[in-house]
């Protein structure tokens, strides 16, 4: 039987402190939830509206992130280093951008007076701000970089010999990708999808700046919590608890995939 590695007390203490920093606020939040009244809180009109807006927009954003992000991650992993070395920081930049800045960036592109938005508005009379589409675009902007980060790492870890072997056997690049690379990277794609979805679900500042906050159209769950905080704290705690439970459940269900992704399988 293998001998268990001994962990130093100091390491355990720091690790435990780290656990407490994350665990205790969540425990405190859950302790304020009106458990007996929870169903009523979550089925109120404003809660249902926020749930619908959040679910629809975050799932759409996650799907778009996969469709656009996986090819982008593939290019970053396999493309010429001269290009990818400056392309990568640009693609990842929304990760470190303050949310309000991200919202402003989207507004200056797609607003009525935006770089692209002005042309669209003048031609069609339609502008993106204040629409559900704006919430989805914001979700893609903040969520896709997570997916690209994870999936590129997985692609990089794929043994290139497998792809080379397939090429020598006559497979064209498309076949190599769909038959060899993508199946092997599936775990990473799934965890990237989940991360992008969770990030889009939790976005607040950028969505508020770009899309506004109208119940049933653009008011997402985080915005609903913010608005409910003063007037209806019970509702705010209930929605927060729901978001926390969703987060923990999703990470738990995908734990094996996440481990595989980070191990490069």
């Amino acid at each position: 039987m293998a001998k268990k590695t001994q962990v130093s007390p100091a390491l355990t203490a720091f690790g435990f402190a780290g656990l407490l920093v994350v665990l205790l606020p969540v425990v405190a939040l859950l302790s304020r939830v009106p458990w007996s009244n929870l169903a009523a809180q979550l089925t109120s009109e404003s809660s249902i509206n926020a749930i619908r807006v959040s679910l629809v927009t975050s799932i759409l954003a996650a799907l778009i992130s996969v469709v656009l992000g996986v090819p982008l991650a593939w290019y970053l992993a396999r493309g010429p280093a001269a290009i990818t070395k400056w392309l990568r920081p640009i693609v990842i930049s929304p990760l470190v951008m303050p949310p309000t800045v991200a919202g402003l960036a989207l507004l200056t592109l797609m607003g009525r007076n935006g770089l692209l938005g002005k042309f669209i508005y003048e031609q069609t009379g339609w502008a993106m701000p204040f629409t559900m589409a704006a919430v989805v675009l914001t979700g893609v902007f903040v969520g896709m970089p997570f997916l690209v980060l994870v999936v590129e790492a997985v692609f990089r870890q794929l043994p290139i010999e497998l792809e080379e072997a397939a090429q020598t056997l006559g497979a064209n690049p498309s076949k190599v990708f769909w038959r060899i690379s993508f199946p092997l990277a599936r775990g990473g794609v799934i965890s990237g999808l989940v991360l992008a979805w969770a990030r889009a679900l939790g976005e607040f500042g950028a969505t508020l700046t770009f899309a506004g906050s109208l119940p049933g159209v653009t008011r997402t769950l985080p915005m609903e919590v913010y608005v409910a905080m003063e007037v209806d704290p019970a509702s705010a705690y209930s929605i927060s608890a729901m978001l926390v439970v969703i987060a923990i459940t999703v990470v738990f269900l995908l734990r094996s995939n996440l481990i595989k992704a980070f191990n490069g399988k």
């Binding site: 507004l107 607003g111 009525r112 007076n113 502008a127 701000p129 204040f130 508020l208 700046t209 899309a211 506004g212 906050s213 109208l214 119940p215 653009t218 008011r219 915005m223 913010y226 608005v227 409910a228 905080m229 003063e230 007037v231």
Partner: protein, 250 residues
Amino acid sequence: MKKAIVAATGLLLALTGCSSATEASGVSNSVTETTITVFAASSLTETFTEIGKQFEAANPGTNVTFSFAASSTLAEQILAGAPADVFASASEKSMDAAVAQISKSSVFTSNRVVVAFPADKPLSAVTDLNNPAIKWVQCDRQVPCGTAADAALESDGISGTPVSLEPDVKSVTGKLIALEVDAAIIYATDAKSAGSEFRSIEFSNSEKATTRYPIGVTLNANTKAQVFVDFVFSEAGQKVLLDAGFGLPS
């Protein structure tokens, strides 16, 4: 190396403990300044920043720091124990909400909501908001500027709906300044500071459109807090407010 890290961490923690203890007791000595922490509604951003500067100039050794946000948010923070010395609210409702932590409060100014729009695309009347082609925004009714907006819109018989209900008046104004909307229900003071590219029209019921601003000292405030409040009520403080477009307290 390890010992150095532990020592440095210990020193850092001790320093954190020291400074918060000094602030809590409100002690000032000839080396450090007295800090007055003022929580104020976002609509007071420019005026109170100016009042703070004038106060610091008139009272050497004091340092006024501000936290500007929606009054309802600030009230919640104060109730949760945030270290504010003074609370200037844009609504009597938010001051009432925080009353458990306030020693006394009184109304120091007033403001009214107006309909603001770009000067080159003017609205002719408030009822233009009923036109579905006009995109307009207001504050959410949970915050003071939204409550006033709702009351004023109702009394003018407006049935049209905004494209967004923002959580505070600064983000409403921001949407107007970015020209993303055709009109915005904001305070007269925000309309004034938006500049000459924007104009505004009044609601017909000025009482419904008016909101009174109370200011109060918190229970654990330091001794200089009342001096700051007195300054807000003084001629100098009131002049800053009136120049910006605020109304008289009554």
